[in-house]
Subunit: 339 residues, 2 copies
């Protein structure tokens, strides 16, 4: 853009040439209102879209932010891989942050990413997150945001998830059809939506099959759904003589903890107790007995989330309206030796 | 810094005020030589180090780059976690890239990170990488670089690793002491230093214990050391009737493939064939039989690599000399059911 035109825009809008130049370069100290006015007028003055795009491009960081609860986690590793693959195609970089399931850290990380002026943010919420002002801040900054896996229904943005309630419902119906009658649920902690939905699916499946729901058969995995939670809860079930014949675990890792304990005390799987996991981690196929589970498509969740985010970044760049999407990806039941 | 002084520096050096200002802000279009001259003169003119630091600070991106071969990998997940923990302490962000074990992609990613002006780069090399100009480019840009795990001895920078040769040597000596005599090695591919070193440790242990080295007992895992490599090579050993009594596998994942196959054909572990892995993945402790292995401290490797990188970034910022370090972290043998 030559100086004559900068001057023309500055004159027409009654602002300085510096402000016009800054607005076109996307500098943050120019208000959104001014920037829009400048961009519109520049368009009217017939700038070719290309040279214009070059000017606007400086506003892009070609970087997106990703916040996940845990790095050492087969499911999230797959999600990251899906995201990196999409980013790679577009020469985008991904800043990855681990919230460690801590709400305070997650909030801080959102601010770090906004200060870094990333072009968009992907996030799976921490188990502690029950309040969403930090996400609304992202949206009020006009920064594209996509929630995946551990989402918040109340936040108005695009989301990629599975239907946890239906997957859990189908899983428990499958156990019932197999003849299991006293089915315990090792549930996740109380805040995450996916943990709530898996529990509700379990409960509904019992009710629809005329098996009374018994709260004493529900065990909470407080420790972020890990191996140790499964191990300890299995021990409790055996010590309390609860006589259950199947366990539906909120994650494979919990289920693997159960297998470990039951193997140790020589309880036959599935002879005495059947086990069904959730996620289909790689190790579920190689442990003994191999774990029946619900396949949760991590790579595809990452890929789809990134794809939507990049679409929204492009729409925003071209000043086109964004329509939020909620995508539910398919899960499937994998039958192995534990059921 | 006020304009009077900018003018003074510009006059004394015979350059424009803009160039002086750019040099102090660390703009890339000012040559390193000019920048140094400006900084030195500004120092002579008695600028307080603090206000000065503020000007220089704009040269920092507070971002580092990390290139790893694979994301869906227990060891590398732990490395990433160690790196993120150190970065978090310093409010640094980490851009993570996956080379997918491809040399061309790794080279491209190095360039992307340099263009992004990251403050430093951490890298574990791809299995294809046998030429190191791209790393020398990083060093010639004066960007701190730390190699970890899959390193190149020839590149002159800091390195964090384990002593693969010694760890493998100790592992095979342990098998020999246990009475195993015909020990096969499922080695990694030919380029990575750690794969070479583990093989050399295996060979030396045999020789030092008067067991002749037999190349027909060495199987290469071409497929990036994965589960399928272990499975297929185990099948080969059984079909070829090689009569081996132990297998030393280059990684746990390979060893787990071996266990899977031997379990399928009902060969008793360790009764007929003992198995020793390398890395100590989480799943090695929960599979059946549980896998004896060498613990490779992934989290600590990540933590230490990041710590050294941040130290070097600080030294560079303060114009202090950097002395490269080569750190070898301790491994230990974990005895479980497969030996």
């Amino acid at each position: 853009m030559n100086n004559t035109t900068l001057k023309e825009i500055a004159n027409q809008l009654g602002i300085s040439i510096t402000t016009v130049s800054k607005a076109l370069k996307g500098y943050p100290d120019v208000s959104e209102k001014t920037r829009k006015a400048v961009v519109e007028l520049a368009n009217q003055l017939n700038y070719t879209p290309n040279s214009f795009a070059v000017n606007l491009r400086t506003k892009e960081s070609k970087t997106i932010g990703l916040i996940i609860p845990t790095i050492v986690h087969h499911f999230f590793s797959n999600v990251i891989e899906g995201i990196l693959e999409e980013a790679e195609k577009r020469d985008y970089m991904v800043i990855i942050l681990q919230s460690n399931e801590k709400f305070e850290l997650e909030k801080k990380q959102i601010n770090l990413l906004l200060n870094k002026r990333v072009d968009g943010i992907l996030i799976s919420l921490s188990n502690e997150t029950g309040e969403f002002n930090h996400l609304n801040t992202v949206l009020s900054h006009n920064t594209p945001l996509v929630l995946f896996d551990k989402i918040a229904k109340i936040v108005d943005c695009s989301k990629v998830m599975i239907n946890d309630r239906k997957a859990a419902y189908d899983a428990v119906c499958y156990l019932i059809k197999k003849g299991y009658k006293k089915i315990a649920h090792f549930r996740g902690s109380y805040l995450p939506q996916n943990s709530i939905d898996r529990f509700l699916g379990y409960k509904k499946a019992l009710e629809d099959n005329n098996i009374p729901y018994d709260p004493s058969l529900v065990f909470v995995c407080e420790n972020n759904n890990d191996f140790q939670d499964g191990y300890e809860n299995a021990k409790k079930i055996i010590h309390e003589n609860l006589n259950i014949d199947a366990i539906f675990a909120v994650t494979d890792l919990v289920a693997i903890g159960v297998i470990k304990y039951l193997n140790e005390v020589n309880i036959s799987i599935p002879g005495q107790i059947a086990i069904l996991g959730f996620s289909n981690w790689f190790m579920s196929s190689v442990i003994s007995p191999s774990l029946s589970t619900i396949d949760q498509p991590g790579f595809e969740i990452g890929r789809k989330s990134a794809e939507i985010l990049f679409d929204e970044i492009n729409l925003k760049k071209n000043h086109l309206p964004i329509i939020f999407q909620s995508i539910e990806l398919e899960t499937k039941l994998i039958e192995r030796e534990t059921t």
